[in-house]
């Protein structure tokens, strides 16, 4: 018994001593389980309205980062102010991971519609990246609401009028014309996305 005790001590004490001075490991973000991802998709937390984005651009929010996920050619032709181009096909290229996986900026993916930008969100979210969002309706909806805001009737409530005025101002600030628009799109608005720290996925539940 004595020998085992001493043997144990000669192994454990040095190992514990090494561990006492070992560096604390910073973890890479953890992948989400499909179920967790489904829950987020179902609650549509990832969408940001054009109004919110336009507002932040005008305010010159230093922490806003628009990411155009279309091809470089399309990006050359037109892009939103301050946007960078990360084509969807190269989403996981090494050089972009620092932009996609971080906790300082709010990234907002956009494409012409929402298909590619949503795909970009799902793919990065699966890897546990946070602070990435999707521009609701993409550039098409952006054009309808911000670039060519629809003038509300005089009988509309005050917020509608206020929204129109904001959009008119925004479109001028952002370089669009104020043309009449034919259809009446539903005004969806989402709250401004908050900046969250990248935190870990859910811990395992346990206990007795």
């Amino acid at each position: 018994m004595k020998n085992i005790r001493i043997l144990l001590a000669t192994v454990y004490v040095p190992v514990a001593l090494v561990l006492a001075f070992a560096p604390v490991k910073t973890n890479k973000p953890a992948n989400l389980t499909p179920q967790q991802l489904l829950e987020e998709v179902n609650s549509s937390v990832q969408f940001v309205s054009p109004d919110a984005v336009a507002d932040r651009i005008i305010q010159q929010d230093p922490f806003l980062q628009l990411i155009d996920v279309r091809t470089p050619e399309e990006f050359e032709k037109f892009s939103l102010p301050g946007a960078i181009n990360i084509p969807l096909s190269q989403l996981f290229a090494e050089e972009y991971q620092g932009i996609l996986n971080q906790s300082d900026y709010t990234n907002i993916f956009y494409s012409n519609g929402t298909i590619f930008s949503s795909e970009a969100w799902v793919l990065t979210r699966m890897k546990g990246y946070e602070n990435n969002y999707v521009l609701m309706g993409g550039l098409n909806y952006w054009a309808e609401t911000i670039m060519n805001p629809e003038k509300p009737a005089d009988t509309n409530p005050n917020e509608e009028v206020a929204k129109y005025n904001f959009r008119k101002g925004a479109s001028q600030a952002l370089g669009g014309g104020a043309m009449e628009s034919a259809d009446q799109g539903s005004i969806l608005s989402a709250p401004k996305p908050p900046i969250k720290k990248t935190d870990k996925k859910k811990r395992v539940a346990g206990g007795c």
Binding site: I4, R5, L8, V204, A205, G206, G207, C208
Partner: protein, 179 residues
């Protein structure tokens, strides 16, 4: 009183405790590696009670806060639970070890200074106290103290200190039961 001067548990061979400890530590580590949680025991009892109440007195279960809250947080039912499966394994593992080492025997183990009836009585009392305590303490020696110490949790150490501390404090008063 029997004349046996050597207690039964001295007459049989057990693992070296340090070896057993290392083995147990490795099993605990495996549990974390696989399922992200450590060992436990008392939780399985709670699961069984809840399942039993659901079966025997379902109306009572539906109208009592504890059981309804439990049902909400355990959508798969009380028995589909990590601890329940683990404890079933414990029964089998213990049995296998007992069988291999020739320790299978229906008996009441007690100090020669007390009767087996008295032992049974105190085992019952001890179990009741422990059962209640394990729920308040959110774990027993395996789940709270052992696992808790391995992850360095305050809850684990506090739990361990009070379990062992109280046992030591009461040891003098309970000495007739054992020595």
């Amino acid at each position: 009183m029997s004349e046996s001067s050597v207690p039964e548990f001295r007459k049989t061979r057990y693992f070296n405790p340090y070896v057993g400890g290392v083995a147990l530590g490795i099993v605990l580590l495996l549990a974390f590696y696989i399922s992200g949680r450590g060992l436990g025991a008392s939780g399985a009892i709670k699961s069984t009670i809840v399942a039993g109440i659901d079966k025997i007195a379902p109306k009572h279960a539906e109208s009592t806060a504890f059981y309804t809250e439990y049902a909400e947080s355990h959508p798969n039912g009380p028995m589909k639970n990590w601890l329940v499966f683990e404890m079933l394994g414990v029964l089998i593992g213990g049995f296998i070890s007992g069988a291999i080492h020739g320790r299978l025997k229906l008996q009441v183990e007690h100090s020669p200074k007390i009767t087996s009836k008295k032992r049974i009585l105190f085992a019952l009392l001890g179990g009741i106290l422990f059962g209640l305590g394990s729920q308040l303490g959110r774990g027993c020696t395996s789940g709270s103290a052992l696992t808790g110490m391995a992850v360095l949790s305050v809850g684990g150490f506090v739990s361990m200190m009070f379990i062992f501390g109280t046992a030591y404090a009461l040891a003098y008063f309970a000495r007739k039961l054992w020595i």
